[in-house]
C-alpha cells in the first residue's frame, strides 16, 4: 500500500541525510568490539570458549540494531513535539498502515546500520563461517529491527514528551541488551539469568544471527524464528492500538 511505502521512504530519507547520526551510532559498537573483544579475548579462550571476537560480533550487530530501531521508533515523540505527527494523524489511512510503514522504515535503517557494523567486525578480525550465509543473517537483522522499531513506537505512543526517554533507555533498552546473550554465552550463566534471557526477545535475535554467522545456537533457529515472530506481531498490534489512541 502507498501509505506504507511513503512512511517507509520518509524514514530512509531522514536517515540517509543525517550523516552525523550514522557516524555517531557507529562509535558505541566499535568501543564494545575493541574493549570487550580484545579485553576479554584471552580470558574467553582460556575458559575453552574459543575466539571471543567471533562470538561477540553477532551480539554487537544485534546491539546496534536494537539501539537504532528503538531510537527510530521513539522519534514519534519528536514528530509530536515538532507538530508533524498531526499531519499523519488526520490522514485517511488505517493506523496499522502508518505503524507498519514506519516500523519497516526503522527496521531498514537499523539493518543498514547493522551491515555497516558487520563490515566493521570483519575489519577487526571477525570470521563468519560462510559468506553465503550472510544473506539470511541480513534477513534476521531486518526481523530484529522490525520487532524493536515496533516496540519503540509502541512506547513512544504512550509518552507525551522526551522526559521519559532516559527512563526508557535505562529501564528498557539497556536491560534488553545486557541481559540478552549478546555479550556472553548463555550456557555458562546462573539459572536466574538464563531465565531472564529466555524472556528477552533480543536473546533470540542474537541467537539466530549466531546460527547463520558462526554456526552456533542456544535455542535453535526454529524457536528463534517463532519467538521473534510472536513478539513482532504482538508489538505491532499493541503499537497500532496505542498509536490510534494518540490525541494531540
Amino acid at each position: 500500500m502507498n501509505a506504507v511505502y511513503i512512511m517507509w521512504l520518509r524514514e530512509i530519507k531522514r536517515f540517509s541525510r543525517s550523516k552525523s547520526r550514522i557516524v555517531g551510532s557507529l562509535m558505541q559498537p566499535l568501543l564494545f568490539l575493541v574493549s570487550f573483544g580484545f579485553g576479554f579475548g584471552a580470558v574467553f579462550a582460556a575458559a575453552g570458549q574459543g575466539n571471543y571476537i567471533n562470538f561477540l560480533a553477532p551480539g554487537i550487530i544485534g546491539m546496534s540494531i536494537i539501539f537504532t530501531s528503538i531510537f527510530n521508533g521513539m522519534q514519534v515523540i519528536w514528530d509530536r513535539q515538532f507538530g508533524f505527527l498531526k499531519e499523519t494523524l488526520v490522514a485517511p489511512v488505517p493506523r496499522i498502515a502508518i505503524m507498519f510503514g514506519r516500523t519497516l522504515g526503522g527496521a531498514t535503517v537499523a539493518t543498514l546500520q547493522g551491515c555497516i557494523v558487520l563490515v566493521m567486525t570483519l575489519l577487526i578480525g571477525f570470521h563468519p563461517v560462510s559468506w553465503l550465509l550472510i544473506a539470511p543473517a541480513i534477513l534476521i537483522m531486518l526481523f530484529i529491527g522490525t520487532l524493536f522499531s515496533a516496540l519503540g513506537m509502541m512506547v513512544a505512543s504512550l509518552m507525551r514528551d522526551m522526559q521519559g526517554f532516559q527512563l526508557v533507555m535505562n529501564f528498557l533498552v539497556m536491560p534488553l541488551f545486557f541481559l540478552s546473550g549478546a555479550l556472553f554465552p548463555l550456557s555458562a550463566v546462573p539459572e536466574a539469568l538464563k531465565l531472564v534471557a529466555a524472556i528477552d526477545p533480543l536473546s533470540y535475535g542474537v541467537d539466530a544471527l549466531r546460527y547463520f554467522l558462526i554456526n552456533a545456537t542456544t535455542y535453535g533457529l526454529g524457536l528463534d524464528l517463532i519467538v521473534l515472530s510472536g513478539f513482532t506481531l504482538v508489538f505491532l498490534a499493541l503499537g497500532s492500538y496505542f498509536f490510534s489512541r494518540i490525541q494531540v
Partner: protein, 263 residues
Amino acid sequence: MAHNIIEVKNLTKKFGDFTAVKDISFSVASGERFAFLGPNGAGKSTTIKMLTTLLLPTSGSIMLGGHDPVREADAARKSFGIVFQDPSLDEDLTAQENMEFHGVLYSVPRDTRRARIEELLNFVELYDRKDSFVRDFSGGMKRRLEIARGLLHHPKIIFLDEPTLGLDPQTRNHLWQYLEKLNEEEGITVFFTTHYMDEADRVAQHIAVIDHGQIIATGSGEELKKQTGTQTLEDAFLKLTGSEIREEGADSLARMRMFRGRR
C-alpha cells in the same frame, strides 16, 4: 446550499476538571464560508481538533460530510483538509517532499499529484524553492506551504486555524482571493478562525462567536453588528466578549512554542 456539511450537537470537551468546550451546537451549510471567532483560549482549536479526529469529544455528536469522526474516522478524514494553528511540517524534508508525502497519504493519483503540487506551489510562490529544506524557510513561507498542502487533495471542507497568522498583507489578500475562488468555483466549504476581524467580516458568510467554551452569538457579519448596535465587527466582537484580556495558562506556553518554531 442544500444540506449541512458540518453538524455539531451538544459538543463538550473536558480536560480533567476544566471544560474547554461547553455543550455547543452549530451547523455549517455545504459551500459556505464560515468563521469561528473568539478570544484566546475560547475553545476554537479544541473544537476544530474534535471535528478533525485529533481529539475525542467528552460528549455530544458531530457529523462531518455525512460521517461521524468518532466512529468512522477514516471516512470523515477523507472529506477535509486542514491547516493547523501550530507548525506541522517535516522540517527535514523539502517543500516538494512534504507535498508528495501528503499527496500519497491521500491517494492522489501520481499525474494529478505532480500537476497540483506544481500549481499550488506556484500559487503560494514557493515553486522556485521547492527543493529547499523546510527548516530553511521563513515563518511565512512555512505557513504558505502548509496552506498549499491542505488544499492538495481537493477536500470538500478546508479547516484553517488562524491561517493568516504571521503573513504579510500581500499574502493574506492573495490567500483569501484564492480561497474565495475555490469556494465559488468548486463549492469547497471554508471553516476558519482568525483574530483579524476585518478579514472575518470580509470573507465569512456566516460567523459563530465562542467565548469560554460557549457559543454566544451567530449570524452574518451584518447581523452581529445589528444585534450589538455597532459599526464594525471588531466592536461587535468586543461588545460580545468584553474587553478584559484572557489569562491563557497552558495555551500561552503553546503559543510561545509556536512563535519560536516559526520565526
